[in-house]
Amino acid sequence: MEIRRRNLLKAAATAGALLVAGLLRPVAALAAWSKEAFGAKNLADAMKSLGATGAAPSAEIAIEAPQIAENGSVVPIEITSKLAGTTAIAVLIEKNPFPLAGKFNFSEGALPYAKLNVKMGETSEIRVIAWAGGKAYSAHQEVKVTIGGCGG
């Protein structure tokens, strides 16, 4: 394994630390980031920005997540779409301040599958949207979040 560290942009980032995040956008904009969808504060707005309003429920989308999570700061989820020709999958956590957690576009050569850890502020539905043949489909699963600890 080889690790390469590229800090070319770090100097710019440091210099810009006092500036609002928006000014750094041009750098990030080199790669697309759906600012509007990620900035949406509720599920409906996020779905709208993603062009997924009215997504049809589908049993072909599998969500594997624990029913109860001991700690909301790390909730493992595994998502798979069995819809033929799936081009993208998005994960939304309905009760989070910003529901959209991630969106993955798959090209020829990748399977429509992703496994990741997400943060959940409270018990919430996890909604997964998959796009196939230009249409959006959706599935959801609830994850209960326990925030325990002794306070010590």
Binding site: R5, G109, L111, V118
Partner: protein, 104 residues
């Protein structure tokens, strides 16, 4: 860990190649207070790119809701021993990192 090292493994499975990639990154939400009582600025990975032999196969966009020290697994169709896999990320502060490995 602060933003820094990455680690990746790509292993052939049944008809696909399993790629697991780990990244050191604080994934700050901008809502957490640091030891000084001040809010720690928003700092999270926004873009993730997976390439196989130089060709982009997955483009991911992520938010601050991805957990600290992100771990992602992806699956590639087929895949042969020795295929070169490259994963890179770019965060909202312009930091970036990448790693590559060959399918084992």
């Amino acid at each position: 860990m602060a933003a820094g090292p990455m680690k990746m493994r790509a292993v052939q499975g049944a008809g696909f190649t399993d790629v697991r990639v780990l990244m050191s990154h604080p994934m700050e939400t901008g809502q957490r207070k640091g030891p000084d009582g001040k809010l720690v600025p928003l700092h999270f990975i926004q873009n993730l790119t997976v390439k196989v032999n130089g060709k982009v196969v997955i483009e991911g966009e992520t938010s601050q809701a991805v957990s600290r020290n992100p771990v992602f697994s992806f699956r590639l169709k087929g895949g042969a021993k020795g295929d070169k896999i490259e994963v890179s990320w770019l965060d909202n502060q312009g930091e970036t990192n990448s790693t590559e490995t060959a399918v084992a």
